[in-house]
């Protein structure tokens, strides 16, 4: 948003691998991007592109056999409102995922809106119980105060009769209300980063519109940075300022939302945008498609991961070298169409 401010989260060359018996799955393989305060970042990609694993890495909740094997996750916590020069920087990668410091950040500073509101809540505890638990864990307040805060936050996210709903169980609520309650839980400690993992895929369109509207207004009020993880390009176009396009664990392209949608540089982004049926497109005309399908994680193609499906494939270049993410006209693209390979590499193959 405003360029003066420093990023709140810097993801630098993050690598999260899963050491499986069958081999190593490079779920996230060198992902870098920055998140600024008050910015809405969209991470887009199809299944298996590593978008969820990236976010789980940030929260340090990657399940075994997954491990962060490289890179940095620099988190700049809000230092009590004062703008001192010596701002504290925490590299989340170095923290113990179960240690007290990480636990203090997780939920309080960086909160998650999980994908499935149905399974995210425990069915044997009331909604209020679970929201208050989060508040009590991170703030030194009494139970009565926590209850008041929970009521307040439920009210903020547009739950009617919050005093009553607090004592309801998740299965007594409708999909939309449950999603609101989850958002309330995520917001209960006023996080500086909110990670929304497919926040609206499980709910209906009219409810989705309500939830997106809610997230938008919350963001405007509180200057929270939101990271949207989604495969729905519509949601990304409507909600974000900055978009990161991922494919097979790598960033293909990153740029402002307008550039990504109106001047995409990477062949993958271009193909992806062409292949979605739009309500404005001509009906019943065959859609341009991307040939083939997403490769299995064990059969990752060498070189640029997209090259077997790419229309601009250059033999001897794309299948031999991995393109770096380079800045081209303000956008960041990893494609050999916009960069040269070292001379000797070109001759090979």
């Amino acid at each position: 948003m405003d360029n003066q401010s420093s990023p709140i989260l810097e993801v630098k060359d993050l690598k999260t691998y899963f050491m499986m018996d069958e081999g190593v799955v490079k779920a996230v393989d060198g992902v870098s991007f920055d998140v600024y305060p008050g910015q809405a970042v969209g991470i887009v990609g199809e299944s298996g592109c590593g978008k969820s694993v990236t976010m789980r890495s940030v929260l340090r909740i990657v399940d075994r056999p997954g491990r962060i094997v490289g890179g940095e996750l620099l988190f700049h916590p809000k230092s009590g409102g004062s703008d001192s020069d010596k701002q504290e920087v925490i590299d989340l990668v170095t923290l113990d995922p179960k240690g007290s410091q990480m636990r203090a950040i997780r939920g309080a500073e960086i909160a998650l809106i999980p994908q499935e509101p149905m399974t995210a809540f425990s069915p044997v505890h009331t909604i209020g119980n679970q929201i208050m638990e989060a508040i009590l864990l991170h703030q030194e307040v009494s139970e009565a105060e926590a209850r008041q805060q929970a009521i307040k936050v439920l009210h903020e996210v547009g739950v009617s009769m919050p005093e009553k709903r607090l004592d309801a169980y998740s299965w007594q609520l409708s999909g939309g209300l449950r999603q609101r309650a989850i958002i309330a839980m995520a917001l209960s400690c006023h996080p500086s980063i909110l990670i929304a993992d497919e926040p609206t895929t499980a709910i209906d369109v009219t409810t989705q519109a309500q939830i997106l509207d809610l997230l938008r207004s919350l963001q405007q009020q509180s200057n929270t940075a939101i990271i949207f993880i989604t495969h729905d390009l519509g949601v990304v176009a409507q909600m974000t300022n900055y978009v990161v396009v991922m494919y097979l664990g790598r960033v293909m392209e990153a740029g402002s939302v307008d550039e990504i949608f109106h001047a995409p540089k990477h062949p993958y982004t271009q193909a992806l945008l062409r292949s979605i049926p739009s309500v404005q497109s001509t009906p019943r005309v065959p859609l341009p498609t991307i040939t083939g399908s997403i490769p299995h994680p064990f059969n990752r193609p060498p070189g640029c991961p997209f090259h077997p499906r790419c229309t601009a494939f250059m033999k001897g270049i794309c299948d031999c070298n991995v393109p770096e993410l380079k800045t081209v006209d303000g956008q960041r693209v990893s494609c050999f169409l916009y960069q040269d390979v070292e001379g000797e590499d070109r001759g090979r193959a």
Partner: protein, 341 residues
């Protein structure tokens, strides 16, 4: 798209279809109420046409399609199907035996390609099973036919001996389509066939469905909630809300000039994949009414911006306001609603 309707025979006509599920309570399972999953639904599909059935979860679109295939016995109403022999039969009351003879003519494509295929069966068994059941006993002949079908949906016949787990989502959906087409159906009910697929694969499957329709003159009942997909593939669209059709019209017409406030709201809720067109959407208040306890009058009135006294008291009828355009709204004539595209 603009094929004159008179050239087309009606393949399927659904008349006042109802499906109520009883709500039981207590030890004696006393019926205390009904969930009106499908409540008075009527529409027809011409041969070679694609009708889209749209609505939010719980609106009865899946139940409607299941009733048509008699996976569920309707509570009342008629489902008139024109058979190959040009006879019209009522599927709603047809006994099991003659129904079985008709089954090959109606097939279904399922939503989830990960759960709808038996993990222990090879492609040969999955695609060949309907052939075997319907009397193609000769193994060689069956293999031949399965190979043809796989080729038809864009899979290599060499894959025949493999199991579904070896395939990606899009390929599995192709397997499901091959199985559905094995018996030369005339009516194909596709229940959310692409909603579980990735964007880049979704387009491939949509193209395949369009191509197969052209090739075999298939009739589709396309159940979906993704409006952009529906707009792309259908000729006509029926919008359902709490078990009732609220609007039914030609696709282009319903998208450019919806006449029911719910249709308009539904359309404006779809996030457009273009950041320059940020939504000025109608955000509906509240939630979808429960089909077990629907509100009085028009089911949509508690969420409707245009509701008046009559809407709260009386359920409007589905009326034809212009040729082929049906709306269930008291104020359809006076309202001007914004469409998309």
């Amino acid at each position: 798209m603009d094929v004159p309707e008179q050239n087309h025979k009606v393949l399927l006509e659904v008349k006042e279809l109802k499906k109520y599920f009883p709500i039981t309570q207590g030890f004696f399972r006393k019926t205390t109420g009904y969930v009106r999953a499908v409540d008075d639904v009527s529409f027809s599909i011409n041969e070679g046409e694609t009708l889209g059935l749209v609505g939010e979860s719980g609106c009865g679109k899946t139940t409607t399609s299941r009733c048509i295939l008699r996976a569920q016995l309707p509570s009342s109403g008629q489902i008139l199907f024109r058979t190959k022999e040009d006879a019209v039969v009522d599927l709603a009351t047809l006994p099991e035996r003659p129904l079985r003879a008709l089954r090959p003519e109606m097939q279904m494509i399922f939503q989830d390609p990960f759960n709808s295929l038996d993990a222990r069966m090879t492609l040969m068994d999955i695609v060949g099973e309907p052939l075997l059941v319907n009397g193609l006993k000769d193994r060689e002949e069956r293999t031949e036919r399965v190979a043809d079908l796989l080729r038809l949906v864009g899979l290599r016949p060499e894959y025949m001996r493999r199991f579904p787990h070896a395939f990606s989502g899009g390929e599995r959906q192709r397997i499901g389509i091959a199985r559905a087409l094995a018996l030369h159906p005339r009516l194909v009910v596709a229940d959310e066939p692409v909603s579980a697929l990735d964007v880049s694969v979704q387009a491939q499957v949509l193209n395949l469905l369009l191509e197969l329709q052209e090739k075999f003159h298939l009739t589709y009942l396309f159940v979906a909630h993704n409006l952009s997909v529906v707009k792309h593939i259908t000729d006509r669209v029926a919008v359902m809300y709490v078990g009732k059709i609220v609007e039914l019209a030609k696709t282009a017409e319903i998208f450019s000039a919806p006449r029911h406030p719910y249709t308009a709201a539904l359309m404006s809720s779809v996030p457009v994949p273009d950041p320059r067109l940020r939504m000025q959407n109608v955000i509906l208040k509240g939630e979808v009414a429960s089909p077990a306890n629907p509100p009085s009058g028009c089911y949509f009135h508690p969420r409707c911006d245009y509701a008046t006294d009559i809407c709260r008291a009386e359920m409007p009828e589905l009326t034809e306001i212009s040729s082929g355009h049906f709306v269930r709204c008291h104020r359809a004539e006076e309202l001007t609603l914004a469409g998309i595209g």
